[in-house]
C-alpha cells in the first residue's frame, strides 16, 4: 500500500498493510520492467539504448502518468474518475481560449485550474453528498466536460499565437545535463512530471491527511467512526485528482501549442489499467504512486518495444489490455494460493 517509500524506508520494522503482497508486487513490476529494458537493449542496442529514445518514451508517458496518478488517488478512496481525459481536454481548451483572448499567462492558467477543480469538486459532491455511484457521476462528467470543450471550440484546434512565447515553449524546453563527454537534454515536461510524482508519492505514504484516504477506501464507515472526516477528504481526493489532470492539461497545451477538445480520448481507460497494474483496487484502500509509475512505465516500454522491433505498431494498443488482464490474473492466482 505504501509506495516508493517502502523501498526508501529502510525501517523494516514498520509494517505496512499488505506490505508483503504489495511490495512484492512492486518488486515484480520492477523486475518485469528491467527484463523488458534488458531484452530490448540486447535486441536493439543502438535504437533502444539511446537517450533520444528514452526521452521520447518518458515524455510520451508523462501525460499518462499524471492521469494515472489522478486515477490512483480516487481509486484509493474506493472511487473512480472516468472524466480525467475529458477534464484535461476542457481545461486545456479553457486555457487556450483565454490565452487567445489576450489574457496574460497566469490568469489563463489559473482559469484552467479553476475549471478542473470545479469539475473535481462536482464529481466529489455528487458522489459524497448525494450518494450516486462514482462510475455514473464521472461518466456523466466525462460526456459533459468533453461536450462543453467541443461546444467551446466547435471541434477546432485552438492556437494562441499572441501568447507569450515562453509559455508555448516551456514544456519542450530542455535543460542540458553534461555528464563526461555526453550531454543529455532533459525536457521541462519530464522534470515537472517526475517531481510531481515523487513529491506526491512521498506525501501519499507519509502525510497524515493523505494517509487517511486509505482508511476511507478500506472501510468508510469505520473511518467515519474513527473521527476521520470522510466526506470532506473524499471530495478533496477528487479535487487532487483534478489538480493532476490540470498539470497534464497545462503541459499538453504548452507542448503542442494548441488547446483541443479531443485530447485524452480513452486516456481514462489507460489510466485505470496502469493504476490497477500498479496495485490499486476497485475495492479501495490500496494503491501506490510508485506502483502506478511502474505500471505506466511497463505499458510505455512495451509500446516502445513494438515500434522498435518493427512489429506492427498497431498491436501496441492491444498490449495494454493484455497486460492488465495478465496482471489481475496473476494477482488472483496468488491470493487464491495464499488463502488455500
Amino acid at each position: 500500500m505504501s509506495s516508493a517509500q517502502a523501498l526508501v524506508d529502510k525501517d523494516k520494522g514498520m509494517k505496512i498493510p499488505f506490505r508483503s503482497v504489495l511490495s512484492s508486487r512492486q518488486f515484480w513490476l520492477l523486475t518485469i520492467n528491467a527484463v523488458v529494458v534488458i531484452g530490448l537493449g540486447i535486441m536493439r542496442p543502438d535504437t533502444f539504448l539511446s537517450w533520444i529514445n528514452f526521452k521520447a518514451v518518458l515524455s510520451l508517458m508523462s501525460y499518462d502518468l499524471l492521469l494515472a496518478i489522478a486515477m490512483t488517488t480516487v481509486l484509493i478512496v474506493r472511487g473512480l474518475d472516468l472524466s480525467v481525459g475529458a477534464v484535461m481536454a476542457l481545461s486545456s481548451v479553457v486555457m487556450a481560449l483565454l490565452l487567445r483572448a489576450g489574457m496574460p499567462v497566469l490568469p489563463s492558467v489559473t482559469g484552467g485550474l479553476l475549471v478542473a477543480l470545479l469539475c473535481g469538486f462536482t464529481n466529489g459532491f455528487f458522489i459524497v453528498r448525494i450518494g450516486i455511484l462514482p462510475f455514473l457521476v464521472t461518466l456523466a462528467m466525462m460526456t459533459a466536460a468533453r461536450g462543453v470543450a467541443t461546444v467551446l471550440t466547435t471541434g477546432q484546434y485552438i492556437s494562441f499565437p499572441t501568447a507569450p512565447r515562453w509559455f508555448s515553449r516551456f514544456a519542450r524546453h530542455e535543460f542540458v545535463l553534461q555528464i563526461g563527454d555526453a550531454s543529455y537534454g532533459v525536457p521541462v515536461l519530464l522534470i515537472i512530471t517526475l517531481t510531481a510524482t515523487l513529491v506526491f508519492g512521498i506525501l501519499l505514504s507519509n502525510w497524515v491527511p493523505l494517509r487517511r484516504l486509505f482508511f476511507i477506501g478500506q472501510n468508510a464507515e469505520a473511518a467515519k467512526l474513527s473521527g476521520i472526516q470522510v466526506e470532506r477528504l473524499t471530495i478533496a481526493a477528487y479535487m487532487i485528482s483534478a489538480f493532476f489532470v490540470w498539470i497534464a492539461a497545462l503541459l499538453m497545451t504548452s507542448a503542442n501549442k494548441i488547446g483541443y477538445a479531443n485530447y485524452g480520448i480513452t486516456a481514462e481507460m489507460r489510466a485505470i489499467a496502469a493504476a490497477v497494474i500498479g496495485g490499486a483496487s476497485f475495492f479501495g484502500g490500496s494503491g501506490s504512486i510508485f506502483g502506478t509509475f511502474l505500471g505506466v512505465l511497463l505499458l510505455a516500454l512495451i509500446g516502445n518495444g513494438f515500434i522498435l522491433l518493427n512489429g506492427d505498431p498497431n498491436w501496441q494498443q492491444a498490449t495494454v489490455g493484455v497486460v492488465l488482464i495478465v496482471a489481475v490474473g496473476i494477482d488472483a492466482l496468488r491470493t487464491i494460493r495464499q488463502r488455500g
Binding site: 514498520m14 509494517k15 497524515v208 469505520a222 474513527s226
Partner: protein, 498 residues
C-alpha cells in the same frame, strides 16, 4: 432421523470439531447450544453440505450420506435457515420461496399462478398471514424469517437447521416463529434449533446438546436439565465469577445528554454520566440503544440533542468533533464499521490518532508502533506481531484491537457497543477487566450489551431502553439488580415490536 458419529474437522491445522456425535430424532426439536467458536456453525455446515467433514459418518433417514454441496443436502431433505437471511428483497415472496424449485411449463417459463397458489397453501398450513405476491423486502424481519422457514417446507425438508433464528426478532415475532416450529414438529419434521438464549431453548426444545471447544460435552432431555447445568456445561465454570470487582469511586457528573432524538428510531433520551461510572444500556434488539449512541456523535443525523461536558455545553456535530472532546464510540459491528480488516494492528490501533506526534504532518511510525506494542502486551493480543493483518486474527483478538484503537484516542467518555459479541470466554474476561480498570482510572463508560448478565455484572447503573426511549434508570452500585428487574422494564407493554 439423523445420526452423526465421530465427526472431525480442522481448518489450517486447527481442530474445530473433535469426535462429535449428534443424533436428531423425527418429530422433535433439538437445541444446539454453545459459545461462539464452539463449533456449532461448522457442525451445521458439515451436516448441510456447505463443508466437507475430515472423518466421521453421517446416517440420514437410514442411508449413509455425504453431501458435496448444499443442493444435494436439500434434495435429500436437509435444509438450513441461515442466521443471515438469504431473502432477496426485490423479489416476491413466492419467488424467494421457489428459487431453484420454480413451477414452470416445459420451456422453463414460470407459472406464476401455480406458484402463488402453492405458496398460499404452505402459508395456510403454517398458519401465517403473508401475501405471496408481496415483495420480500416489504416484510418485517420476523416475517422474512418465516418466509425462510416456508422455503424449507416447500422443499419437503425432513430436517431443518435453524441458525439463531431469533437474534433479530421481537418477542411477538419470536412467539409466532415458535408456534410455526411446534406445528412443524408435530407434523413429523425434525428441527435443530441453534441459539445462545437459554430461555428460548427451554421453551421450545425437547433435547439439548451442548458443544464446547469443538466437542459434544453433553446431550440432555430439556425437561430434565436445569439452566445452571447447561451453563456450566457451556462455559466449564460458573458465570458469577466472570466479572471484575466494582469499585466505589464513582464521581460527579461528567457528561449529560438531553432531548436526544433520531428520526424514526430514538426520542427523548436523557441521561447523566458520572466520572468512573460504567453505565449499562439494556433493552431488546431494536430498542434504539445503538441508534441513540450513533445519534449522540451525529454519525446518524440526529433530530435534536444538547450535551454538556464537565458542566459546559458542547457541540457534537460529527464523530470527528466527538473525538476531539474525548468521546469515542466503539462499534458493535467490528468487521463492518469498526476495523480495517486488510490493514495491520499498527494502522488499526492508530487510526483515530494518525496525527499524534506527527512531524510536519508526517506520520510518526515509531510512535504508532510503540503504542500498538504497548496494547498488544497489555491486553495479551495474539499473535504478538503488530504487523499481522486484522483478517488473520480470531474474533476475540479483533475485538481487543478495536478496544485498543478506542483507548489509544484517550477517551473521557467511552461508548462500547456489544464489546464481547462473538468473543471467547477468556478474551471476554480480559475485556471486562480492562473496562473496569479504565473506569477506575476515571474514564466514564457507556456499555451497550444484549447479554443481560454482562450488563448487570459490569454496570454501576443501568438504563433500560424500549421503543426508542429510556424507560428506566436503575441503580446497580451494589450489584444486586436482577435480570427480572431489567426485563420487566424492557418488555412491559404488549406488542412493543419496533
Amino acid at each position: 432421523m439423523l445420526q452423526a458419529t465421530g465427526i472431525n474437522k480442522s481448518f489450517f491445522g486447527n481442530r474445530v470439531l473433535e469426535d462429535v456425535n449428534f443424533d436428531v430424532k423425527a418429530g422433535q426439536v433439538h437445541a444446539l447450544i454453545g459459545e461462539n467458536g464452539a463449533g456449532k456453525s461448522t457442525l451445521v455446515n458439515i451436516l448441510s453440505g456447505n463443508l466437507q467433514r475430515d472423518t466421521g459418518k453421517v446416517v440420514f433417514d437410514g442411508d449413509t450420506v455425504s453431501f458435496d454441496n448444499p443442493l444435494e443436502a436439500m434434495s435429500a431433505g436437509i435444509s438450513v435457515v441461515h442466521q443471515e437471511l438469504s431473502i432477496v428483497p426485490q423479489a416476491t415472496v413466492a419467488e424467494n420461496i421457489f428459487l431453484r424449485r420454480e413451477i414452470t411449463n416445459r420451456f422453463g417459463f414460470n407459472d406464476w399462478n401455480a406458484m402463488y397458489a402453492r405458496c398460499q397453501a404452505v402459508f395456510d398450513r403454517m398458519q401465517v398471514d403473508i401475501n405471496p405476491r408481496a415483495l420480500a423486502g416489504s416484510l418485517s424481519i420476523g416475517m422474512q424469517q418465516l418466509v425462510e422457514v416456508a422455503k424449507s417446507v416447500v422443499l419437503n425438508a425432513k430436517l431443518i437447521f435453524m441458525d439463531e433464528p431469533t437474534s433479530s426478532l421481537s418477542e411477538k415475532e419470536i412467539d409466532e416463529l415458535f408456534q410455526v416450529v411446534r406445528d412443524l414438529r408435530d407434523s413429523g419434521l425434525a428441527i435443530v434449533f441453534i441459539s445462545h438464549k437459554l430461555n428460548e431453548l427451554f421453551e421450545i426444545s425437547d433435547h439439548v446438546t451442548v458443544l464446547r471447544d469443538g466437542r459434544n460435552v453433553g446431550t440432555r432431555l430439556t425437561a430434565e436439565a436445569s439452566s445452571d447445568e447447561i451453563i456450566s456445561l457451556m462455559v466449564g465454570r460458573s458465570l458469577s465469577k466472570l466479572y471484575p470487582e466494582r469499585s466505589a469511586s464513582v464521581g460527579d457528573v461528567v457528561f449529560s445528554c438531553r432531548d436526544l432524538a433520531l428520526f424514526g428510531a430514538v426520542k427523548d433520551v436523557n441521561f447523566d454520566l458520572r466520572r468512573g461510572e460504567i453505565l449499562g444500556m439494556a433493552g431488546l434488539i431494536g430498542a434504539g440503544r445503538t441508534e441513540a449512541m450513533l445519534a449522540l456523535i451525529n454519525a446518524r443525523k440526529r433530530a435534536s440533542g444538547r450535551f454538556e461536558l464537565n458542566g459546559k455545553p458542547i457541540e457534537l456535530n460529527s464523530p470527528h468533533e466527538a473525538l476531539g472532546h474525548g468521546i469515542v464510540y466503539l462499534s458493535e459491528d467490528r468487521k463492518g464499521s469498526g476495523l480495517f480488516l486488510d490493514y495491520d494492528m499498527v494502522l488499526n490501533v492508530s487510526s483515530c490518532v494518525l496525527d499524534r506526534e506527527a512531524r510536519f504532518g508526517m506520520e510518526n511510525r515509531k510512535a504508532m508502533r510503540e503504542a500498538t506494542w504497548r496494547y498488544v502486551t497489555e491486553m495479551d493480543i495474539r499473535p504478538k506481531r503488530p504487523s499481522a493483518t486484522i483478517l488473520s486474527l480470531s474474533g476475540g483478538n479483533q475485538q481487543k484491537i478495536l478496544l485498543a484503537k478506542s483507548l489509544n484516542a484517550d477517551p473521557k467518555v467511552l461508548i462500547v457497543d456489544e464489546p464481547t459479541r462473538g468473543v471467547d470466554v477468556g478474551a471476554k474476561a480480559q475485556i471486562h477487566k480492562k473496562l473496569r480498570e479504565l473506569a477506575n482510572a476515571g474514564c466514564s463508560i457507556i456499555l451497550i450489551s444484549s447479554e443481560l448478565p454482562e450488563v448487570l455484572g459490569m454496570s454501576d447503573r443501568v438504563l433500560v431502553f424500549r421503543s426508542g426511549t429510556v424507560v428506566a434508570d436503575l441503580d446497580n452500585k451494589a450489584g444486586v439488580l436482577t435480570q427480572e428487574d431489567v426485563m420487566n422494564a424492557a418488555v412491559e407493554l404488549e406488542g412493543l415490536a419496533v
